[in-house]
């Protein structure tokens, strides 16, 4: 067979390039990790539209990464197609920009075969919920060890402004001049329907909250699904203004905190209750209910119906939108189950070639002399 020269030396001089090399040695064995946000910036020029919410998410992720204490070489970002999916190019980690909708499938193969890596999937509403809907739900039900960040801008940006599977019914876009006729997915409800073990929502512009959610997601064993409301200022500007503007956000946004009663408003004047006889949760004025009626948020409830009820609170205009961790429960990851089977079987084999030879000659064989 031909010679393999995987790490061949350069055959010709290469032109000088402006590559980031700072921190190239960080994370080597025996060296304490002292990474900074800068270490996670690649040398590629970031090419989203000026003002796009993706910038804020990128900056938040880059400045959060050092906290993980994981060397860069053990972090992989896998994406599909869309504006958000350019994300891996800008992270100075390993990165794979794949094809439309398939990132969860590709990341599954990587994660299952390489438990030493931390695998992040960056996707969008079209990528994850339309063309890739199947892979998303199956990654979640299997509980593959992936951190899935879904940038939801409720529009197709890269293809210049068609409605997406999270666009509101009646959305007028280039492809729906008379208004869209299909109802949107609620990504949190969908993930819970697939019994995802970690489900959270956050917002591009709130770095502190975003990083808090990332922290929780990064620590989770199994699939961590994070929906990030992201403004596309070109094709769907202001989609989340109600949740962002100082004069509206307090009454519109429900910040979930594990172990705390769910109240919101400027002064906690609203709360969430579980009315007797009803199936779900409802918003009330805090003053009108007894404190014991207010639901205390518990992200560890095994039955997904509770988190699902939370996910149904928002009205069409997004008022009463919960953000934070909806659900964080522990169940075995697909990776761990699959690897255990392989490792237990492989542990019994000391010499694979000998074992293979005996496999070949097992069963009905005969000898010709």
């Amino acid at each position: 067979m031909s010679e393999i020269q995987g790490a061949s030396p350069p055959e010709r001089p290469r032109t000088a390039r402006n590559r980031t090399s700072s921190g190239a040695d960080s994370g080597r064995q025996g060296v304490a990790l002292t990474l900074t946000a800068k270490d996670f910036k690649s040398d590629q020029e970031v090419r989203w539209c000026p003002g796009c919410g993706d910038y804020a998410i990128l900056a938040a992720v880059q400045s959060f990464m050092p906290e993980l204490g994981i060397p860069r070489e053990r972090i992989v970002f896998v994406s599909g197609i869309g504006c958000s999916s350019r994300f891996p190019y800008y992270m100075n980690t390993y990165g794979l920009h794949s094809i439309h909708g398939r990132a969860p499938a590709i990341a599954t193969g990587l994660s299952v075969s390489r438990p030493d890596l931390q695998v992040w999937v960056v996707t969008g509403d079209g990528d994850a919920l339309s063309i890739g809907g199947n892979h998303l739900i199956h990654a979640l039900r299997r509980n593959v060890n992936l951190k899935i960040l879904l940038f939801n801008n409720r529009i197709y940006g890269l293809t210049k402004g068609q409605y997406s599977p999270t666009s509101e019914l009646g959305k007028v876009t280039k492809s729906t001049p008379a208004g869209s006729a299909d109802s949107p997915f609620n990504p949190i409800s969908l993930a819970l329907g697939a019994e995802a073990s970690f489900v959270a929502r956050t917002i591009d512009s709130d770095r502190k909250h975003l990083q808090g959610v990332l922290r929780s997601a990064a620590n989770h064993q199994g699939s961590a699904f994070v929906e990030i409301y992201q403004n596309c200022n070109i094709f769907n500007d202001g989609a989340f203004d109600l949740l962002k503007e100082p004069d509206t956000r307090d009454a519109a946004l429900i910040r979930l905190e594990h172990g705390s009663p769910i109240t919101f408003g400027t002064d906690g004047e609203f709360c969430v209750v579980h009315p007797p006889g009803g199936f779900g949760l409802e918003v009330r004025e805090t003053a009108s209910v007894s404190p014991t009626e207010i639901v205390v948020h518990d992200e560890t409830v095994t039955e997904p119906a509770y988190a699902f009820a939370l996910s149904r609170l928002p009205a069409l205009d997004l008022s009463h939108t919960p953000v934070g961790v909806f659900r964080k429960v522990s169940r075995p990851s697909y990776d761990a189950l699959v690897r255990t089977q392989v490792q237990e079987a492989a542990a019994k084999v000391t010499d694979p070639e000998r074992e293979f030879a005996s496999l070949l000659s097992s069963g009905d064989t005969w000898t010709i002399i």
Binding site: M1, S2, E3, I4, Q5, G6, A7, S8, P10, P13, R17, R19, S21, D25, G27, P71, R72, R74, V76, I81, Y89, M91, N92, Y94, G95, L96, H97, S98, I99, R102, A105, I106, A107, T108, G109, L110, S113, R114, L117, N134, H135, H138, V338, V342, A345, A346, P352, E353, F356, A357, L359, L360, S361, G363, D364, T365, W366, T367, I368, I369
Partner: protein, 614 residues
């Protein structure tokens, strides 16, 4: 009574019955007994797509043909010498394939008015003289089995079910097969239910004894062992051989194997087989769909595993976009297509060389990949290893085109010495390859044109790759016109640069002016036809393509050496089209798409015409 023993050089037996009658198992057992005896063997199962078509109907007929001989044979045989028909449907469905004078063993118990009507017999063919051209042996297989098991403590249904073992016993007696392996098999199969072990063995022996005592079978036959190379043998189907080849590739590459697959006929057995071999660091994932299956395999390959996906034609159509991604990423990946009759769902259990065009051209963009095809069941083992060699050495997806005929067909396989198999070890990139400590993911090896396989986890080699066009060497996103032109040509040159062995020509006395060129599973029937012609003094040359992309360097000169080139294919001329286009050779296509392999006889008569008219 003593029976006459007659020597034969070859026999073709077809076991046919309802899909619930256990004909595949019966055929398998007979094959195994025959293998133990040392005959050369070739088998061909033929089963309905429906798991249980209505009992006793024509669509429900399942059959298994076994050809065995005292010399080396290449096909499961064109026409059976013996048909075992378990019911009227099995008789009717198979009669047309039987030459006059062949033996027919029928289970008379099933020839009831109702069953006859079900398949459109107005009168009982056992009584109306319509079978006079054949030698019919009427046997009450069901009633005799039930009778033989009268004092066994099992249900009537279980007793009736054992009738296939009665038939196997009878045939084993007729052809003097050693049956120890069948006894062991039954003991293992029914280990949890000892009463069934006893009943099935009793049914087998009753069949054997019936042969010995009844006057209807006056002759017993013997087929002497074939002269075969010394060594250890086992009988193997193409799908199992392919799965073992994948395991071997992982073992010899010292890499974990990752199979992503979605169930599809006739490829699922590879998934089943591989999932039994986890101890060789083999991970199998039954994915949510064909796209996820190849996606996961590609993800695993990116992480440094030998990534494999197995499917059939419809699955390849779905995987096309990911194959293109793998071509852009320049990562090793094996894509196994066990071809079946198309288009669309077509005939899932029937064979066809349906997908050569798709393997060569069926992707968006200029997306060349390596393509290879095994030529027999046991060759699937070596083809899998060769596909892995190409993928790992040249960092490219490789499509492997098996088909339903060799996937389910079987033949004896001389077991290889594992240490003689190719060394497939690879080197992952470990250090930056750029001048100033940077890493250039698209800097190529000058010989193989392969880029470094830099797996995540390697410090200092963090890099980003994807489906967008990449700048040469750096792998950065590039829309530069000259760079794209260069990269497209480089991806084509990469495949052309793959070293493949020269094609060999079988032209024993060098006198032939006609060359038969084939690829894939047609090797057996073409070879048998060529042998037959030569025996009749008509010279003909045979060459068979294993590497379909790139093609062997000497192919052009081989083609041009012969006055006539004939290309038989189980499609409408896909290889012929390529050969004509590439080499400007006026090749004669010979095509058939009946869902069945060629018979040697039809190829022989077609080739005879060509040879006599050059």
């Amino acid at each position: 009574m003593t029976k006459k023993v007659q020597q034969l050089d070859r026999v073709v037996i077809r076991f046919a019955g309802d899909s619930g009658d256990g004909m595949q198992l019966t055929g398998d057992r007979f094959t195994s007994e025959t293998a133990q005896l040392g005959n050369d063997i070739s088998t061909l199962p033929n089963f309905p797509a429906e798991i249980r078509a209505p009992a006793g109907t024509l669509p429900g007929v399942s059959s298994f043909q076994v050809h065995f001989a005292d010399f080396d044979i290449l096909t499961p045989g064109d026409a059976p010498n013996v048909l075992v028909a378990m019911n009227p449907a099995a008789l009717k469905a198979n009669l047309a394939d039987l030459p006059g004078g062949a033996d027919i063993i029928v289970n008379t118990d099933e020839f009831t008015k109702r069953n006859l009507v079900k398949v459109g017999y107005d009168a009982n063919p056992l009584e109306d003289g319509s079978l006079d051209r054949w030698v019919v042996h009427p046997v009450g297989l069901t009633s005799m089995t039930v009778g033989a098991l009268a004092d066994h403590d099992i249900s009537k249904k279980d007793a009736e079910r054992a009738k296939n073992m009665f038939a196997l016993g009878l045939l084993s007696w007729m052809y003097s097969r050693p049956y120890a392996s069948t006894i062991t098999f039954l003991e293992r199969k029914f280990a949890a239910r000892p009463e069934l072990v006893a009943a099935n063995i009793a049914a087998f022996k009753a069949g054997w004894n019936f042969g010995e005592t009844t006057e209807d079978f006056g002759v017993r036959y013997e087929v002497k062992p074939a002269k075969m190379s010394p060594g250890n043998y086992r009988n193997i189907t193409g799908n199992v051989a392919l799965a073992l080849g994948l395991v071997a590739a992982g073992v010899r590459a010292k890499l974990p194997v990752f199979l992503g697959a979605y169930p599809i006929t006739p490829a699922s057995d590879i998934l089943h087989e591989l999932s039994k071999h986890k101890r060789f660091n083999v991970t199998t994932m039954q994915a949510e769909d064909e796209i996820a299956a190849i996606g996961a395999a590609l993800g695993a390959a990116y992480g440094g595993a030998l990534g494999v996906t197995t499917t059939s034609g419809p699955g390849i159509a779905l995987k096309g976009e990911t194959i293109s991604l793998a071509i852009a990423l320049e990562l090793p990946l094996l894509i196994v297509d066990v071809q079946r009759a198309g288009p669309s769902t077509g005939m899932p259990t029937k064979t066809e060389q349906a997908d050569l065009n798709m393997a060569l051209f069926g992707r968006h963009g200029e997306a060349p990949a390596a393509v290879i095809a095994p030529c027999s069941p046991s060759d699937c083992f070596y083809a899998a290893i060769e596909a892995a060699r190409i993928a790992l050495t040249y960092r490219t997806p490789v499509l492997l085109l098996s088909d339903g005929y060799i996937a389910n067909g079987s033949e004896p396989w001389l077991l290889p010495d594992v240490s003689d198999l190719p060394d497939l070890r690879v080197e992952f990139a470990a250090t930056p390859n750029g001048e100033d400590g940077t890493f250039l993911p698209y800097l190529r090896d000058p010989h193989t044109l392969a880029r470094p396989w830099a797996v995540p986890g390697t410090p200092g080699l963090e890099h980003r790759i994807g489906g967008l066009e990449k700048a040469d060497r750096t792998g950065d996103i590039s829309y530069d016109p000259a760079n794209h032109d260069f990269m497209v040509r480089t991806r084509a040159a990469r495949i052309e640069a793959i070293e493949v062995p020269d094609i060999e020509v079988d032209d024993p006395d060098g006198a032939a002016s006609v060359l038969v060129l084939g690829w894939g599973s047609t090797y057996g029937p073409i070879g048998a036809a060529c042998r037959a012609l030569r025996q009749r003094g008509l010279p003909v040359a045979q060459a068979h393509l294993r590497h379909l992309n790139p093609m062997p360097k000497n192919l052009e000169s081989v083609l041009k050496r012969y006055g006539r080139v004939v290309i038989p294919e189980m499609n409408l001329g896909q290889l012929a089209h390529v050969i004509r286009g590439r080499y400007l050779v006026d090749a004669i296509p010979y095509n058939q798409v009946r869902g069945l392999p060629f018979t040697a006889a039809e190829l022989e008569s077609m080739l005879e015409d060509v040879v006599k008219n050059v």
